[in-house]
């Protein structure tokens, strides 16, 4: 469920989440797919613009992803809709996950543009 859109070796990977939801039905698949993409010292940009609902299982998967990556600066979430932003604020994880409005801003952050 992760499409590799763009990447630069040892710098970043831009992955688009292809599913409409990230929830109890597919969080395991997401965790697994994300784990496959991780490389040391590479920043992962996750484009969630297609995703319109994340539940607690989905959030758990994102947290697991963050833990697997280790350095919170190496994960950027972008394209977040209102529901996801609210969820991050409710759980105070908006202070933990790096987020940008869209993938272009994220690419700028990693110096790709």
């Amino acid at each position: 469920m992760l499409k590799l859109v763009d990447s630069k070796l040892k710098r970043y990977k831009l992955l688009k989440v292809e599913s409409l939801v990230l929830d109890c039905t597919n969080f395991s698949e997401f965790k697994f797919d994300l784990a496959m993409e991780l490389r040391p010292d590479e920043t992962i940009i996750l484009n969630l613009e297609n995703v319109n609902f994340v539940d607690s299982s989905g959030l758990g998967a994102l947290i697991s992803g963050l833990k697997a990556i280790g350095n919170p600066d190496h994960l950027i979430l972008c394209g977040l809709n209102e529901q996801i932003v609210e969820l991050l604020e409710l759980t105070c994880l908006d202070k933990v996950f790096k987020t940008t409005k869209d993938y272009q801003a994220a690419l700028e952050e990693v110096g790709a543009r």
């Binding site: 109890c24 959030l59 697991s64």
Partner: protein, 382 residues
């Protein structure tokens, strides 16, 4: 394990032919000479592992026999193979429609009959295994739910100062949502709702572990002074709990909604950890208590808050799990109706409020799928 095959054919010659074909494979073969006799067997049919059914029979043909047989629940799993000389496709299709799973064209060879029978017996065995495993799983889940329920407050829980009502609806038998009431020696009542991420078995196990810890390790929620037990501030409680249950422990986070209410000094102190705050209903309005805090288990550096406000006679607190607020239908999220509904039920008893809210939820979902545990707790200051 010997398989028992039943052959139903009005012709003795044909029945002997089948017997001869299957003899070498070690099956026990039984015979009947009409469809009616097959139906007359009733539930004894489950003694057989497979039925070979001739189509062309007088009075009751094979298809009609099969149709009537399959109408009975106890016969639904037994495989029926038709023996037919009929080469017309339409006719064979009728066989499948009648509930048969295969057909063999006459005249058939010994090997062909043997292979088909073997193949269908294997399939049937697998299906029965799966059904049986599923039944065991369901029974285990039900049992798990009974045990988990033992952690929850008894239905007769009472407090002299408060009317208490709740509705607890796990999406599977066992739940990631749990809740509890704690009595303190200063007359306070602690009410908490715990929501582990996800639902199902793993969430239920984590929820039970946390509930168990809160109940047995009294130092988490309160502290003792001269033998009396007093409530901690919610923010303190959350810090301790978070230390005890870091994310790495179960690869799981959980959220908490917690209030400590005291009738004598008309106060309510509320704290949340990653969970929507409770609603407070007082004489003038309905509002969400203004408090926020991070989920438990992740060390975020940011701390938990608590909020103390007035809790008068007849005021109510309503705690709902996030599964309820997140319910969505074509009109949007259920959350946006909460203020309106709680205003409507403001003067109901706690029990009626819970009942009405639950009814509204069912109406909102309207046969749609409920994907999360739903819990409603209402406390009214008497």
């Amino acid at each position: 394990m010997t398989h028992r095959i039943l052959v139903v054919d009005d012709s003795e010659e044909n029945r002997l032919m089948v017997r001869y074909c299957l003899a070498a494979d070690g099956y026990e073969v039984d015979e009947l000479d009409s469809g009616q006799e097959l139906l007359d067997l009733g539930e004894k049919i489950v003694n057989f592992d497979l039925i070979l059914l001739d189509v062309m029979m007088p009075n009751l043909d094979g298809f009609e026999t099969c149709r009537r047989l399959k109408n009975q629940k106890f016969a639904s799993n037994i495989p029926v193979i038709f023996l037919t000389a009929e080469t017309e496709e339409d006719s064979r299709v009728s066989g499948f429609e009648a509930g048969g799973i295969d057909y063999i064209l006459k005249p058939f060879g010994r090997k062909e009959l043997g292979m088909r029978v073997k193949s269908h017996l294997a399939l049937s065995r697998k299906l029965n295994e799966v059904n049986s495993q599923n039944e065991t799983l369901q029974a285990n889940l039900k049992r798990g739910a009974e045990i988990q329920t033992a952690f929850l407050p008894s239905k007769s829980f009472q407090h002299p100062d408060f009317n208490i009502a709740w509705n607890y609806q796990p999406v599977e038998h066992i739940a990631g949502d749990m809740f509890g009431f704690i009595n303190f020696d200063d007359g306070s009542l602690g009410v908490y709702l715990l929501d582990v991420c996800g639902h199902g078995t793993s969430a239920a196990l984590v929820a039970s572990a946390v509930c168990g810890a809160i109940t047995t390790n009294r130092k988490l929620m309160g502290y003792e002074v001269q033998g009396k037990y007093f409530p901690r501030d919610p923010s303190e409680f959350f810090e301790l709990l978070s230390e005890h249950f870091p994310y790495e422990k179960y690869e799981s986070y959980f959220t908490f909604s917690y209030v400590v209410i005291n009738s004598a000094n008309s106060s309510i102190t509320a704290g949340v950890a990653g969970h929507p705050p409770p609603y407070q209903i007082n004489a003038f309005d309905v509002h969400k208590i203004n408090v926020v805090g991070p989920i438990l288990g992740i060390d975020l550096g940011s701390k938990w808050q608590s909020q103390t406000s007035i809790f008068n006679e007849n005021d109510k607190i309503v705690i709902v799990s996030d599964g309820i607020l997140e319910l969505t239908n074509e009109h949007g999220r259920f959350e946006k109706y909460m203020n309106f509904l709680l205003s409507k039920y403001a003067s109901c008893s706690a029990a009626d409020l819970v009942k009405s809210l639950h009814a509204q939820i069912n109406e909102f979902v309207d046969n749609g799928e409920i994907k999360d545990d739903l819990t409603i707790i209402c406390i009214e200051n008497k």
